[in-house]
Amino acid sequence: MKSTAARRRAGSTAGDAAIVMEHVSKAYTVGVPALNDVSLHINKGEFVFIVGDSGSGKSTMIKLLLRELLPTSGKIIVNGTDVVRLKRRKIPKFRRSLGVVFQDFRLLKDRNVYENVAFAQRIIQMPGREIRRNVPSILSTVGLAGKYKARPKQLSGGEQQRVALARALVNKPQILLADEPTGNLDPKNSWEIMNLLEKVNNDGTTVLVVTHNREIVNAMQKRVITMKKGIIVSDEEKGGYIDED
């Protein structure tokens, strides 16, 4: 099957690619693989939804892109880096070129909002004065400038996710990976997060969102890659959420 999105990307060059997966398979144990011969091409600056049921391989794909897992076979290129051949000691530097947002926020609970965001800057050894300038700026972008002293447990789910988003964006990554970013949020907060992601995308960052949220996927009219049992069953520009049955 060749989708409209795949057909459009057939003409794009390697230099345009943010993410390339070629014949990628991943099996945890002997039996049904989590990913089965998946190939996809995401251009720089794209906004892509990955949708599918539980067990369809969406989270495995994110883990492979983050180099948390290695594929059983296939080739993965992220930001021009061959992830499969990447040496272990080079993983931290590679991950700094990505922004990541998780469903469960994964904030450092003992640190306040400012420190959570500043942590990402400290990792890249940003000078103190730069941190003091960049962190308030990104907190303003996500609408949390007034809550920089709050601890994660003092924030709502939506606010925590905005902190996670600020942390993911503060180092100005070329790609933002979001694994079910609205999974723990109510509709209002979900839309706020999606609007922020769209804004980030408009500023030039490639955004890849794994989600179950049918309403958002259908409303945003972005590229939608649908997965089922480890394979891509559909890849549509301005697509929608495909019902399983």
């Binding site: 609970k109 990792i123 890249i124 050894q125 000078p127």
Partner: protein, 298 residues
């Protein structure tokens, strides 16, 4: 690496100590308890060894010289004996001194009434040993030296002391090794548990691109500081208890203090201090280093 990053890691390690109060308390308490027991037993056992050693050094062999021995030969024999490794000290007692001592010990009173020295042929060497178990070897040697007519020794005392020394050595080594292993097990377990509950924190750091060093450094610094505090507390306690116990025994049982030679606390701590600090800091370092490593493969 920037100096700021290094300071940040150190600061985070110090902060962690106060942040994770219960973990810090549990770790310090475990390390302190283990090292306190270790220190206490070490102090007691080294004192036993010291007392036995002290008793050994009072064991003396008398080598009686032939009456007509020339001064030249006597000096020659003195040189031969003093070069022996098992000899710690050697003193020459003339026939006149021997007679004076004998008369004094037996309350003879004025000995000037004696026109002749009854112990004319009793000039001798008093030989003190560095290792009492070598007594029989030394006696055999002395008996073979020309100019020595007789060797007096206390074989029973030497045997008893050698036996006691051996038992104390075995018991000391046994107890210290057991306490050492128990300390390592308990301390590393406490550190491991304390860090494992924070594995999520480690994983988050790794997900957002922290290097192994950046992730590990605060935990290792925390482990080292906890180990250091945990070793200084029992050292202070043992120091205080040791001094108090020594003063109590000396004050309350003066006769015992003449019999038992306590080691000065500084002598005990010359070894105990570096061993305890090394144990605490070493286990704190190794425990935190290896535990964090388990969670770094994200």
């Amino acid at each position: 690496m920037r100096i700021n990053t290094l300071f940040y890691c150190i600061w985070q390690g110090i902060r962690n100590i106060f942040k994770n109060k219960w973990f810090t308390l549990a770790s310090v308490a475990t390390i302190s308890a283990c090292l306190f027991l270790f220190g206490l037993f070490y102090s007691i056992l080294t004192n036993f060894q010291h007392m036995v050693k002290d008793a050994e050094q009072k064991v003396c062999i008398s080598a009686l010289l032939e009456a007509d021995l020339s001064e030249e030969r006597r000096l020659e024999i003195e040189g031969l004996i003093s070069r022996r490794t098992e000899v710690s000290n050697l003193e020459y007692v003339t026939a006149e001194e021997t007679w004076e001592q004998f008369a004094e010990e037996n309350n003879f009173g004025d000995i000037s009434i004696f026109t002749e020295n009854p112990l004319e042929d009793c000039a001798h060497f008093n030989i003190y040993l560095s290792d009492v178990s070598m007594q029989s070897a030394l006696v055999s040697y002395l008996e073979s030296v020309e100019g020595i007519r007789k060797v007096n020794q206390s074989a029973l005392t030497a045997q008893a002391l050698t036996g006691v020394n051996a038992i104390i050595s075995y018991v000391s080594v046994g107890i210290i090794v057991i306490l050492f292993l128990v300390s390592i097990f308990l301390i590393s377990n406490t550190v491991t548990i304390g860090i494992s509950v924070r594995k999520e924190e480690i994983q988050i750091m790794k997900y957002i691109g922290a290097t192994d060093f950046f992730t590990r450094a605060p935990f290792v610094i925390e482990g080292i500081i906890i180990g250091l505090i945990g070793s200084l507390i029992p050292l202070a306690a043992v120091y205080f208890i040791y001094n108090e116990a020594m003063m109590y025994v000396v004050g309350r049982f003066p006769f015992l203090s003449q019999l038992l030679a306590f080691m000065p606390v500084q002598e005990v701590f010359k070894t105990l201090c570096p061993v305890c600090i090394g144990l605490g800091v070493g286990i704190g370092f190794i425990g935190s280093f290896t535990t964090v490593r388990k969670h770094l493969s994200v």
